[in-house]
Symmetry: C2
Subunit: 154 residues, 2 copies
DNA sequence: ACCTTTCACATAGCATGCTATGCAATTTGT
DNA sequence: ACAAATTGCATAGCATGCTATGTGAAAGGT
C-alpha cells in the first residue's frame, strides 16, 4: 500500500485551491478598506448592482450576482438593518419587494469603488496590461466551465 | 451630479469580483462531489495536508493553509466530531495537541482527490496546457500581491 | 526563583454562503 | 372560475471565514 501515490494532488497547483485562497485574500483586503465605511464585501457586491439600477427586486439581484436566493435575502436584511436600503412592496405584485438605496448608500459609491480598485491594483500590480487581461479572461473561462454543470464534462 | 461616473466600476472585469465568483463555484462543485464521502471543502483542504504529513499541530496547519487560527480550530472540531481525526496532547508540550488521521480519513484520500481533479478539469476543460499554466501562475501572482499587504502599493 | 512575555489553543460573535423548507401571491391550464 | 403549478420571499440549520478575547503552559529576562 503506497501512502504517497504516484500522482499526488498538489494543492499549490490546483486551480480550485488557489481560487479559494485568492478569494479569501481579496475579501480580507476589501473588507479592511470598506469596514470604515460601514460596509462588508457582500454588501458592496450588492451595491454595485443597485448603484447602477435602483428599484430591483431580490430575484433580479439573485440572477445578476449568481448567489442563492436565501443568501441574498440575508444580505438584504443586514443592509436594511444598517440603513443602506429600503424595501417597498411592489404595487402590481404583492409578493415582490423592490429595493431602493438610501442617501447614505448612494454617498458611499465613490469611496467604496476606489477601495475595490485599490485592492485589484494590489493583486495585479506586478502585471502588464496583457497579463491582466489574460488573467481576467482565464478566470471568466473557468467560471463558464464550472457553471455548465450538466454540460459535457470532457 | 453624475449618477453614472465617467469610469464606472465593471464587476464583470474586476479581478476581486471574479475571484469570489470562481471560488464559490469551485466550492459548490467540490462540495456536491465530496458530500457523499461525508466531507466538506475545508475538511478536504485540511486533509490534503494531513494525508501527506500526519501528526501536525493546529498551528502547523494554520501556517500551511493560511487561514486564521480560530477558523482552523473550528474546522478541526467538526472533523473530530465526524470521526476524521483524533487530537492527542503532545508529550513534550502540554499546550499543543497533535492531530492524527483515523482509518476512515485515510480511506477517503483517493475518491476525494479524484473528485477535486474532476472539478479542476471542469474549470480548465476548454484550455490547453499553456493556458492552464498561465492561469495558475496568474492566480499565484495575484495571491502574492495580496499577501504583501504592507509592501509597496504601487 | 519569579515575573513577564510569548505561544497554542478555545470560544464568542458576526458575515457570507449553502440546502431545505414553508408560505402567500400570482399565473396557468382546463 | 378554480385547482394546480409557479414565483417571490422568509426562515432554519449548517459550514467556512473573520476579529476579538480568554486561558493555561512554556520560555525568557532579571
Amino acid at each position: 500500500m503506497n501512502n504517497t501515490p504516484a500522482d499526488p494532488f498538489d494543492r499549490t497547483r490546483s486551480a480550485g485551491y488557489l481560487a479559494n485562497h485568492m478569494a479569501r485574500l481579496f475579501a480580507q483586503r476589501l473588507h479592511e478598506r470598506i469596514r470604515p465605511l460601514g460596509l462588508a464585501p457582500a454588501q458592496f457586491m450588492t451595491l454595485l448592482e443597485l448603484w447602477t439600477a435602483d428599484g430591483l427586486t431580490q430575484s433580479d439581484l439573485v440572477e445578476r450576482l449568481d448567489v442563492e436566493q436565501a443568501t441574498m435575502a440575508n444580505t438584504l436584511s443586514r443592509m436594511e438593518r444598517d440603513g443602506l436600503i429600503e424595501r417597498r412592496t411592489d404595487e402590481r405584485d404583492a409578493r415582490a419587494r423592490r429595493i431602493y438605496l438610501t442617501a447614505r448608500a448612494r454617498a458611499l459609491r465613490k469611496p467604496a469603488e476606489e477601495a475595490a480598485s485599490e485592492v485589484n491594483a494590489m493583486a495585479l500590480g506586478s502585471m502588464d496590461q496583457d497579463e491582466r487581461t489574460q488573467l481576467i479572461d482565464g478566470i471568466a473561462r473557468a467560471i463558464n466551465g464550472l457553471k455548465n454543470n450538466d454540460a459535457a464534462e470532457c
